[in-house]
């Protein structure tokens, strides 16, 4: 059976947590959550996961193994033993993220969520992003409000800001991206199978580095595919978050 785009996305999200060890995987959104659970069931068994509320649950997603109400969750963030994958209404080439509002902050054209925990996340624990629709509306030259802090703004704010700052990965419906460049700007790490470099460039609102011969996002193993389809998401909800 053909691997769907949504399934490549789940796998690419899972890969973001590879090698993280005994830290909380904090996914925002369905596809990142499936990814975190897939990672835990396969190559990252030490990850901690919540039930989406205040409980830490085992690999079966049911057995309660710990308690993590908001106050302890925030302490965990500041202690750094967590890798969060947040959403982004806007994201720029340096990794500055906006989820607060669109337009002038004083009277926004469109009010969104508010800063939430983006400032504390980005300065204290690794923060990756999940963008289900890679488009020039999301990938912009300049975000309207910096909620999650990017590499340039962290550097400008000084050593306290850069000390624990890291953006390991940006996963979208088209590609996997990271900031492993000399000037810490966004580049394509892999293209999902069937997606051309040109398509990603067109969907990005700033010049984007895509090396010749950039690899494809890896194929899932038969076992990974079985877990996604039969154990983690038998109802196929992933296909609603990622359009074909």
């Amino acid at each position: 059976m053909t691997v769907t785009r949504a399934e490549y996305c789940v796998l690419a999200c899972a890969e973001a947590w590879r090698g993280d060890g005994e830290v909380l995987a904090a996914p925002m959104g369905l596809v990142p959550r499936l990814g975190a659970r897939l990672a835990r069931l396969t190559f990252a068994p030490d990850l901690l996961l919540t039930d989406g509320e205040a409980l830490l649950v085992g690999a079966d997603d049911q057995t309660v193994e710990g308690w993590l109400p908001y106050r302890r969750h925030l302490a965990l963030v500041m202690g750094g033993r967590r890798h969060v994958m947040m959403g982004a209404s806007q994201l720029d080439a340096h990794g500055n993220q906006n989820i607060s509002c669109i337009g002038d902050w004083k009277q926004p054209r469109r009010q969104l969520l508010g800063v939430r925990g983006a400032p504390v996340n980005t300065l204290n624990n690794p923060t990756s992003y999940w963008v289900p629709r890679h488009s020039p509306r999301v990938f912009v030259e300049r975000v309207d409000m910096v909620c999650g802090v990017g590499y340039d703004r962290a550097a400008a704010a000084g050593p306290s800001a850069t000390r624990f700052h890291r953006i390991p990965r940006v996963v979208t419906d088209l590609a996997v991206l990271d900031f492993d460049t000399p000037d810490r700007t966004l580049r394509v790490r892999s293209l999902h199978p069937g997606v051309s470099a040109e398509r990603v460039r067109e969907a990005t609102g700033f010049p984007l580095a895509i090396a010749d011969g950039v690899p494809a996002t890896r194929e899932p193993t038969a076992e990974e595919l079985r877990l996604i389809r039969e154990v983690l998401d038998p109802a196929g909800l992933r296909e609603r978050e990622v359009r074909p």
Binding site: M78, Q111, V146, A154
Partner: protein
């Protein structure tokens, strides 16, 4: 005491902290009582949910201190969104952890607490009054000094309380209700059921006794008082009603009809109207 007596202590211009988180265990009966007063120009301090939405829609908010306003299962609080897009009130937009540090500083009678969060972000830009401090130790780190969030009044809702003001939560998350009470001059605790203190430990261990009577001014028994937000384990969020709220909030005429049907009378009238609405849904 009654919800009316509790909110009778709130005057125009005061700073009111509201417990819970998003659309979870909000003291909605007390918020509804506040809607029925002519109090205005409030500074509201809240991890925002429909409490913020309702007070904003009623024009009672002069200033809002928050990190977000959400209905959880519906990501954007519609009244909050509309009010922001009209620039109806002043916003102090803080990060979730900065907000916690502000409350914690107030509880401990400190002027501020240092935190890494905020550096490099536009939270520093939109709050030009925020200052940084430099660690006096050899690390020399520069950190944000989050000012104390002192409250005139706190409103919180728990599962159980005794008549003296000891409060017990039975759900999985205490949120920050103890901090709201301890950061306030006056704190009003509504609960699902008032019980004798002797019954507390039969329901849960002593660590469930979140709020102490030394930090509480008055107790109000308001069954379903968190409706339509969740109050686990007594009840979950009323998703159908919340959807109706959000739908009505998006349209001025529909909101007028919603207000007439649900918010024109007292709390008993509200709960009866909700019960009638739920019955309609099942017929």
């Amino acid at each position: 005491m009654s919800a009316e007596e509790a909110v009778g202590g709130i005057e125009s211009g005061m700073t009111v902290g509201i417990g819970g988180w998003g659309s979870r265990r909000k003291p909605m009966a007390l918020v509804r009582a506040l809607l029925r007063t002519d109090v205005r120009d409030l500074t509201v301090v809240s991890y925002g949910g429909p409490d913020v939405g309702l007070l904003a829609a009623a024009g009672k908010v002069r200033k809002l201190v928050t990190a977000f306003a959400t209905l959880d299962s519906i990501p954007l609080e519609p009244h909050f969104r509309a009010a922001r897009e009209r620039a109806d009130f002043e916003l102090v937009e803080l990060d979730e952890a900065m907000f916690l540090w502000g409350l914690t500083a107030a509880v401990h009678r400190l002027p501020f607490l240092p935190i890494r969060a905020g550096l490099g972000s536009d939270v520093m830009t939109v709050n030009p009054g925020l200052r940084t401090v430099v660690s006096p130790y050899e690390d020399g780190e520069e950190l944000v000094a989050v000012p104390a969030l002192r409250l005139d009044v706190a409103l919180v809702h728990l599962n159980r309380a005794d008549a003296q003001g000891n409060g017990q939560y039975l759900g999985p998350d205490p949120y920050f209700d103890d901090l709201f009470c301890e950061a306030a001059e006056q704190a009003y605790l509504s609960c699902e059921r008032v019980v004798p203190a002797a019954e507390f430990l039969a329901a849960a261990g002593p660590q469930s006794l979140l709020v102490g009577r030394h930090a509480v001014t008055g107790v109000i028994e308001t069954p379903h008082g968190a409706h339509f937000t969740s109050c686990a384990p007594d009840y979950g969020r009323d998703e159908a009603f919340q959807q109706a709220y959000a739908k009505a909030a998006a349209d001025p005429a529909a909101w007028q009809a919603f207000t007439r049907r649900f918010l024109a009378g007292d709390e008993d009238t509200y709960q009866a109207a909700v019960a009638a609405y739920a019955k309609e849904g099942t017929e």
